[in-house]
Amino acid sequence: MDFLNAIILLLNYIFVPALAYGSQLAIGAIFVTLIYGILRFANFATGDMMSFGTMVAILFTWYFQSLGLSLGFLPTALLAIPFAILFMGLYMLVIDKFVFKYYRLNKSPPVQLAMVSIGVMFVTQAVVRIIIGPSDRRFFDGEKFLIRANEFKEMTGLNEGLAIKSTQVITIVATIILVSTLFWFLNKTKTGKSMRAYSDNEDLALLSGIDPKRIVMITWMIAAILATIGGVLYGLDKSFKPFTYFNNMLPIFAAAIVGGIGNPFGAFLGGYVIAFSEILLTYAYKKFFMYVLPESMEPDGLIQLLSTDYKFAVSFSILVIVLLYRPSGIFKGKIL
């Protein structure tokens, strides 16, 4: 019985939250890696693009709420996602036309494009803050929990409760659907294959008659889908604040590089690697050992490897270690 309790404890505090957080990071990391693989630059505007998409989704959510539309137990924001994706895609295409296209045609070095993306970051940040303001916003509605902790306790008769938030389930389901569709698209369809070819060898792809304009446009559209959905899922699960989104860029980069930049599958797994290591290393295992060990060996301290303050630092350290020992990432990067 104690053993079961210990497992539920880990599930509740580590596995479920890490899985949800990892999914959110994974979507962002695929976004980064896709831009890096096809457009060939590190996009420092990642977090702010996600916050732009989320902002549009929030505005639509408010509009639908004022109309009285809702999805019952699901959050209204899901209804707003398609509209937000449209706006996000439009925004990205406008930015590409006025900013990135020039450097792409001039074949500027990646560093210059990265600098330009910093300019885009500033502008996007300003746009988001001017439209919706810098404050913390919650836009979740509908049923909050799928299973509540005390319901679970009553159901099973265990000491430890397992609470599953509906946003966590939505995040995981949406990620599975989104990522499997994306991989199917990249691996099975002609367009997806031509994208991979373009990423692998640009000149060869051009010779075989692949239209670079089309590839770039499709990449931005996919990026818009990923950015919006990733941002909305994070905002539903936690809350929307432009500054947090900007900061999320860092673990997302870490995930993309740990997985091997340019490799979407690596980025997908990288998200979970980062999320799980962050939570595993900063969780206090005292209660877990109280269940597992006999009473005489109970620990005194919290048995916490690192204090929770260092949550971000964990993922960055992992990244630094990976960069030093295997710069191409866990899965060989730079093939799409």
Partner: protein, 456 residues
């Protein structure tokens, strides 16, 4: 003279703008802008050495700035004797243990061939070392943080004049840069950017949460000053006389004696804060000029030529027998050390150390905007970039407000759009920076004052 005309023109315009702020807003604001412009100029010189001379991307400027600030605290704050006696020995012991671990790892690395066993041994040394250090330091840290937590709760510093911290800050930042450079400089440009960005976040996380060393988010306030205090100045005879002399024209207009005294008092209060800021300006100006002379000398020396050769074609320089790795490391350390000086200067000016205020947008990306806008590779350009961008960063809000009022003049004051726009005026600075950076990158990619190399 002729060929430096654009430099002179650009700087005169900049000075004119600051003087205009002094006339129309107040001299206090103008001087605080000027001081921060000088500090920004030091930071941009550091970044410019790395990016402009050698083509190294350092997105970790925030971390080096914070280390400089930490130096200011550790140098100037008086030592907290009780904290030292409570947990000092544990902390010192941990320090020796860290050194011991580093030496042990070095020994294993040097002594044995590369193999799986060696990796495991190193991992075992590090992990067991960390566990021992935690066991040793934990009681010490707890004891230190319990000493009068509302006022101290940390070890304090050395109690020296804060000016020394400018040099120590450079050493701190340079030391960190040496470690980072040793491990990360081999990475490709954009990886290096991301790695330094993340490492600087780690540095900030440590400064924020190691309360025994830095007081963390509780902040250290009331640091010593290299300049006199306003309150003391206001009571000093010669200062009051000086202010009286300066404002004699205005004072002569007031006939009533008590009113005249009140007006004088007002002038003294204003004058004292202007005077203190002027003291800082003088100190900062000395630093900027010394650094400028040194960097200009370096730029035109054989060493500077070699750096440019390495930047423009690494392989060719390598083939000519230049040690690219060593030079990269050297310049990374030098540039970061300069940023460290700026960090210490910043904390000196503010008189307080707030780890929570170090954010990448302000301390990394803004500095990069300054370098790019000003002109990378050209020291005068980098300094000008610091001035222009900081000036706009501060003055963006008034300019934004003016623009909003102009464009929404037709709307009523209570119209929701106007109210909303006026509320979001502070964020116009981001917009301005972004658009400015994009325009410069597109139409003048070498910056306002482009790099100009002539053989002297």
């Amino acid at each position: 003279m002729r060929k430096n005309l654009n430099v002179i023109a650009a700087y005169s315009i900049m000075m004119g703008l600051i003087i205009l702020v002094g006339i129309f807003q107040s001299w206090n604001i103008a001087l605080s802008i000027f001081n921060l412009c000088l500090i920004s100029a030091v930071m941009t010189m550091g970044a410019n050495i790395q990016w402009g001379y050698a083509g190294l991307i350092n997105f970790g400027i925030m971390g080096f700035t914070a280390l400089g600030g930490l130096a200011a605290v550790l140098i100037s704050v008086n030592p907290v004797q009780e904290a030292w006696s409570a947990g000092g020995t544990n902390i010192l012991l941990s320090l020796f243990l860290i050194i011991g671990i580093v030496l042990a790892v070095r020994f294993v690395l040097k002594r044995y061939q590369k193999s799986k066993i060696r990796n495991y041994v190193i991992a075992a040394i590090i992990i067991s070392g960390i566990i021992i250090i935690r066991l040793v330091s934990e009681p010490g840290i707890e004891a230190i943080e319990e000493v009068n937590p509302a006022r101290t709760g940390f070890l304090g510093g050395l109690g020296l004049p804060i000016i020394f911290s400018w040099i120590v800050g450079a050493f701190f930042a340079g030391g960190l840069a040496f470690v980072i450079g040793k491990v990360a400089l081999g990475l490709r440009a954009d990886y290096l950017a991301i790695a330094t960005l993340l490492i600087s976040e780690i540095v900030i996380a440590i400064i924020k949460h190691e309360d025994w060393l830095t007081r963390g988010v509780k902040n250290v306030i009331g640091l010593k000053r290299p300049a006199p205090y306003e309150v003391n100045l206001q009571e000093t005879e010669w200062f009051i006389n000086l202010v009286e002399k300066f404002n004699s024209g205005k004072l002569a207009l007031i006939s009533d004696l008590s009113e005249r005294q009140a007006a004088l008092n007002q002038f003294v209060i204003e004058g004292s804060s202007v005077f203190v800021k002027l003291c800082y300006s003088g100190l900062f100006l000395v630093v900027v000029i010394i650094l400028l002379i040194l960097t200009q000398k370096a730029l035109y020396s054989p060493w500077g030529r070699m750096m440019r050769a390495i930047r423009d074609n690494e392989e060719a320089a390598n083939a000519m027998g230049k040690n690219v790795v060593k030079q990269h490391l050297l310049i990374f350390v030098l540039g970061s050390a300069i940023v460290g000086i700026a960090g210490a200067m910043l904390v000196t000016q503010d008189g307080l150390f707030t780890p929570g205020s170090y954010r990448p947008l302000r301390y990394t990306f803004l500095i990069w905007v300054m370098v790019i806008v000003g002109g990378s590779g050209n020291n005068f350009g980098a300094i000008l970039g610091g001035f222009v961008v900081w000036f706009l960063w501060i003055e963006a809000a008034p300019i934004g407000l003016y623009l909003v009022n102009l464009t929404t003049a037709g709307l009523e004051d209570t119209h929701f759009l106007k109210v909303h726009l006026i509320e979001s005026v502070p964020y116009f600075r981001f917009l301005m920076m972004g658009i400015g950076l994009l325009l410069i990158m597109r139409y003048r990619p070498k910056g306002i004052l482009p790099e100009k190399i002539e053989i002297k």
